[in-house]
Symmetry: D3
Subunit: 316 residues, 6 copies
Amino acid sequence: MQHDIAVADMQLGDEIEGFYVLSSASLRTTGAGKPYLTGTIADRTGSVDLVVWDYTGELSADSAGTVVKVRGKVSEFKGSRQFAAGRIRPADGNDRYDLDELVPTAPIDRGEAMREVEALIASMEDADYRRAAEAMLAKKREVFARIPAAKSVHHGFVGGLLMHTLSMLRTADFLAGEYAEVINRDLLLCGTLLHDMAKAEEFTFSPLGLATDYSLEGQLLGHPVMGAQAAARLAEELKLPREKSVLLQHMILSHHGEPEFGAAVRPMCAESELLHLIDMIDSRMEIYAETFSELEPGTFSGRVFALEKKIYKPQG
Amino acid sequence: MQHDIAVADMQLGDEIEGFYVLSSASLRTTGAGKPYLTGTIADRTGSVDLVVWDYTGELSADSAGTVVKVRGKVSEFKGSRQFAAGRIRPADGNDRYDLDELVPTAPIDRGEAMREVEALIASMEDADYRRAAEAMLAKKREVFARIPAAKSVHHGFVGGLLMHTLSMLRTADFLAGEYAEVINRDLLLCGTLLHDMAKAEEFTFSPLGLATDYSLEGQLLGHPVMGAQAAARLAEELKLPREKSVLLQHMILSHHGEPEFGAAVRPMCAESELLHLIDMIDSRMEIYAETFSELEPGTFSGRVFALEKKIYKPQG
Amino acid sequence: MQHDIAVADMQLGDEIEGFYVLSSASLRTTGAGKPYLTGTIADRTGSVDLVVWDYTGELSADSAGTVVKVRGKVSEFKGSRQFAAGRIRPADGNDRYDLDELVPTAPIDRGEAMREVEALIASMEDADYRRAAEAMLAKKREVFARIPAAKSVHHGFVGGLLMHTLSMLRTADFLAGEYAEVINRDLLLCGTLLHDMAKAEEFTFSPLGLATDYSLEGQLLGHPVMGAQAAARLAEELKLPREKSVLLQHMILSHHGEPEFGAAVRPMCAESELLHLIDMIDSRMEIYAETFSELEPGTFSGRVFALEKKIYKPQG
Amino acid sequence: MQHDIAVADMQLGDEIEGFYVLSSASLRTTGAGKPYLTGTIADRTGSVDLVVWDYTGELSADSAGTVVKVRGKVSEFKGSRQFAAGRIRPADGNDRYDLDELVPTAPIDRGEAMREVEALIASMEDADYRRAAEAMLAKKREVFARIPAAKSVHHGFVGGLLMHTLSMLRTADFLAGEYAEVINRDLLLCGTLLHDMAKAEEFTFSPLGLATDYSLEGQLLGHPVMGAQAAARLAEELKLPREKSVLLQHMILSHHGEPEFGAAVRPMCAESELLHLIDMIDSRMEIYAETFSELEPGTFSGRVFALEKKIYKPQG
Amino acid sequence: MQHDIAVADMQLGDEIEGFYVLSSASLRTTGAGKPYLTGTIADRTGSVDLVVWDYTGELSADSAGTVVKVRGKVSEFKGSRQFAAGRIRPADGNDRYDLDELVPTAPIDRGEAMREVEALIASMEDADYRRAAEAMLAKKREVFARIPAAKSVHHGFVGGLLMHTLSMLRTADFLAGEYAEVINRDLLLCGTLLHDMAKAEEFTFSPLGLATDYSLEGQLLGHPVMGAQAAARLAEELKLPREKSVLLQHMILSHHGEPEFGAAVRPMCAESELLHLIDMIDSRMEIYAETFSELEPGTFSGRVFALEKKIYKPQG
Amino acid sequence: MQHDIAVADMQLGDEIEGFYVLSSASLRTTGAGKPYLTGTIADRTGSVDLVVWDYTGELSADSAGTVVKVRGKVSEFKGSRQFAAGRIRPADGNDRYDLDELVPTAPIDRGEAMREVEALIASMEDADYRRAAEAMLAKKREVFARIPAAKSVHHGFVGGLLMHTLSMLRTADFLAGEYAEVINRDLLLCGTLLHDMAKAEEFTFSPLGLATDYSLEGQLLGHPVMGAQAAARLAEELKLPREKSVLLQHMILSHHGEPEFGAAVRPMCAESELLHLIDMIDSRMEIYAETFSELEPGTFSGRVFALEKKIYKPQG
């Protein structure tokens, strides 16, 4: 019997006991009328199908997204690995396990990342945009540092929004220098900080912090409109000049570039045009990184849904 | 010398004195170095090119959208009528002219129309939606009754927004009855009343009340986003339940149907789907009416810009 | 043993005997070489998978769409209900069952609906259009009252075409009043009555009256072209003036709005524009109604194929 | 004074008398109040602007499309040639001029072309399709040999439909041999003969035989639908089997290939697929021929409207 | 026991021994921990699922595309035929089987086809284009005669490229005569010969000669660009005039017609326009032929992936 | 009389003598039969219409793009400035004027820019990519430093290609650091240097160095294909490994992102994806800069052709 083996390392025939996230669960009945539990268990390294025969315990579909303790054997079903558990129970307060091992988390030092964000805000010269950035960060600090930036696609892990935003801020800072003739650095940085903040309200989150679904607002309004509304309120509270309030809202509304990709309006100023392209760069590079992590050098991926194409990982 | 002849009735050779709107104006110099004024004068029946040779008065490009008194003769230039004025001056406080004759105005009794709108609001059973409708009307009453619904396309005349909205409310009322199984009449009526309210801030208006251009907000945010924001504030003030606030905002954001036609999100509930189609009906029927007014029965129009096609006016 | 339980009400473990429609059937052999029958049984409330082990009777794939008598038990297979029948046989002349319970049927009084259609036709003032409507109804009366308006999508039940057409006629009648300036009421009503008539030839129908597939003409010509051709013949028989014949054909050819959605030409007169939008309203509202019937308030549907999006059913 | 100089050969300063087609005409008044006639005169080689100062004769806009006798001088206006006529009058019965020189005509021997069409029809083995082809040709013989195939785009000259159809029939004959495994030669030839026949009713024609505009049916129904209707009637008269009638109609309805290019349905059998591609070949090759006739070898054309691109004429 | 039965003729219950291509293979383990082999075997008439219980031999996923000898019985699994083999082993040098029966091959005499291609090349009058055609054929002769023209879609069999190219050359020859006014026959023939030559490098091929996947160049550059590059080199070697080299490259780059279908540039000369349409004709006719081979007269196919539609095979 | 006034500073009534570029020219005849010259003169600050009455000199349309000496007066025609020259003659070897004042030139120090490009190349660690970059620069050094990057759109001035490429190299350098996990810096830098090199052959250039038109290759092959071909040759000469050659070609072929915008293939590796986005950033920022240079703060531009939208220049 092995303990707390990473899901990615489970081998056919391994007998394992450990703590995992129950990602999904469903109570079923066999043809012979016997109850069983089927679903998925996962940790930060991946997921594997689960089956528990003759199950009569308390777990059900509602338990999805919680931590369980299992004991069983890695078998195979239709060409995929399957974890056949003899025992399973919810984890409780007395159990000791490392949540960071169970939930996928951004590969960054979040404390240091927050300090870098704050330093960039502090460097803004325009008092209006700086106050807006500071106020927004003050309101959202904790959630901003914790939530993923998406359900799956890219940055879909704890700390994803912070990682995505900081990476974009760095590029924004660099490009504001390169194109100082047309770019207002403070507007660009402030818009970059705010552009995805409403993801906190666009999604519903599991107890472990992952985005599980869109919220009512997320579906019927969309995060660009929600974010622009929050910016408008903030601008009002801070008594920002009208043009600055409109520009900040416009940055957020247009950051998806084209209406067919979710922009409420198309970018019409240099800073919103650039924000959209920086967002494209960071999201695409992360998609490549996540796809490459499961790809051999010198081979093509399957069709990547978010890119609508295959991609190639060079040999060297 | 004739007086205040309607522009539509001006004939080649007519000598006319009267009051007209100076729609546009430009100071120029002839090859020989002499100053002259060129532009357009108009009343509610149409417009005609204007030229004033050897002009040295106070009128200029900035005078566009004001009323002038002119005296001159209807001549012809390159196949079009041209009003060659010998005299021209701004109208002043002592002048007597009928503004309703000069500015195109909705062919409805605006007082009666407002009463019909109010009666429909009063008939709403859901107290939340009724209060929202009443509060919005209280805030915007005067501007709602006066402004056009567009720069040109359709309903581009004084009272156009009221006419467009009332016509849609009537159809909404009828269809809410036909599809009572899926339609919440109060949500549909409230969303219909609010859907174009932000046109008041989307445009800038001439002194005579016509839409002359898009405002900064109109260009960078768009009236669906602006209207949804106003609805969100209203819902907050009135302490509407969260779902009702979200649904009202969604109605406004999605009433253009598809992102490529300006919707921030696509309609996702029965009432927003229907609002979009009612808006299509009323705007298209008005475009047909405006195009037909200048078309002989049994003939085709030229290409109608807003429809991207020719249309046909049947003989009988 | 229970009798004739509605499919929607069948519970795991129920033992049931009754009459149902055999929607589909397939004879198979087990790995061990034993014959069995698999397929689906249905009534107007829904459908359930069927399995009959060791089956050697006369039923086969060709029996799809007929009524059978079954006796068996509701079990479960891969998370779905399955009716495991011990006995099954074709219904015959001596059996007593209510066909209306077995086949999905429009939730309207069809006799009354036909009278309302006739009253609307009788109200037409233009003798040409009225005669065309009367003649078409005389030719098609029975099939018009009986067939579905589609295979699935919307109104895919017995009486669907009548229900869809009447609903559109009511809205056409209302809107013809609202837009009397541009709409010829008689042309609109006549075109509405005729617009989907050719569905009778576009589909092939099962013995129980449901649309099972497209006919040769349905695939190679399409119902708009077929309907326009029928209208042209009718107009010839009735010696309608040329323009009226052309307009009626145009209404039918263009009622899908855009070529990419099946219109042979785009709408180019006010009545065809409006007919298209009324068709959109009635088909969309029915799709919402049919989707809502299986959706909890306050939840989103899955992706609705015909709408290419999810929809939301509000809480109240 | 020169006589009947071809328009293409008119040089600045030439004094010319001759017969030309008055393509368009408009009565105007100068700034000084003097009447003049402006318009265009043309022959088969091209067209030139016309002006007649102080004109008080009987010609007007309604005279467009008739033959006139003019006397005047070739001058220049804004960089283009202009024919300034001192005299102009309608041609009458006593005048002698060669109509073939005035109207653009297909560069083929039309009698011989008709015989080739007939020989191809006679070679058809399927009696049904051959009878349909013969009957259609009998009905339309004269108009088929005379009308253009378009207003402008390609084959817009007298005899254009015959030239276009014969050229396609030859290619159809060849390809039916190459792809005998999938192609029914008789269906392909019959469909090719019929595919554009309804152009006779799609356009209105000038007295000289050129297409001047779309007819009411041409706009509201389109020639594919009109042609399919004619084929359906013919099939009925000749008592063709149902499938053959449907296939002939389908060939005509689908010959534009895609709905966005005017097809009422997409091609769904091998013969309609091939008919569409043969039509593409002949129309495109004629567009190249017509564009090349005004292009130097080794140069690019301007943007060709019907192709939405520039084309290149190689040097050798 | 029967021997070497064609896959298309295998019946449920047949006991068969013979040689087949192992198209795909996968080693699996049952729930009970026993190893088995699953995959597909095929010959030129079709393919069937394979299962070998308790398999412990040398075959694995890497054996795909090789010939095996099997012995077993045709059974059924989930409504499809399945070949349950008791024995299976790789074919070796001592085995006797007819490779032509195992691998799908073009239904033409390849030697005769090559002679016809050469005769067409020899008939070219322009020495430059003729030398280019001869040189390319000299370089690629063997591969040109052998490889398929695609992975699946159309002409996906041994000799497919030769069959496709010859068929196009014949049509090119015919059309060059029909449109001699605008078409340079030698450029058209030369471009046709070269247009798909780079398919040899676009794909990787199985030992038996079928295209198994795209190569690195095939994915990252595409065969039009690769073919144009080869043509440029050839033109350089042969010292062709600049315009002729550019035109040949352009023919190859543009033969897919539109960028969205893989053209690097759109056709801009008459010969490239025609080449594209000839390619459409031959590929579409082959798709019809391949689809018809499995379709009953008077029925519709399922959706044909490459055409994005269903097609109809007429009754006669 | 003033001398060599910048075109942007010319005022109505100014009398000026100086050297300008004759951008376009056309010989015409007045209604009265007198010859005159019309066209445009320009310097790096802008352009103005030119007219020379009674002109009989040697200048003609062929003189476009050369330097002339003019003497005349700034007048006005139809609301625009017009330079009415009394004298005009070609500049000759004895004339003294500053070409840099006449031709628009990149606002950079070209020598320093070249050194920065070289330093970035020298910093590449992969010897293959570095040698490719060095070899390409060695071949193209002079033309690379001199030509514009476009006819108009953006960077359409002398030195434009160098300015555009250096700016992109800097951003590439920065982003290669940010995304070191997925980006091969040397491939990215090398691809960036090469991506637009073929613009040297895509255009024809005026004697003064501006792009006047597309070359034959530019139209029929396009610069991505031409550039990839040059890269392939270079890779062959330098004996680069196959994958590196393919990747470099792929970078160039795909740098326009989507086929509809001119990409021969879509980007399929991280470096080509990023190159495309960096190209978007630099071209868009330059379009903003060029549009802003003629726009007041707080106003919208007219529709910018290359962006298909209006843009806004904020107030501050």
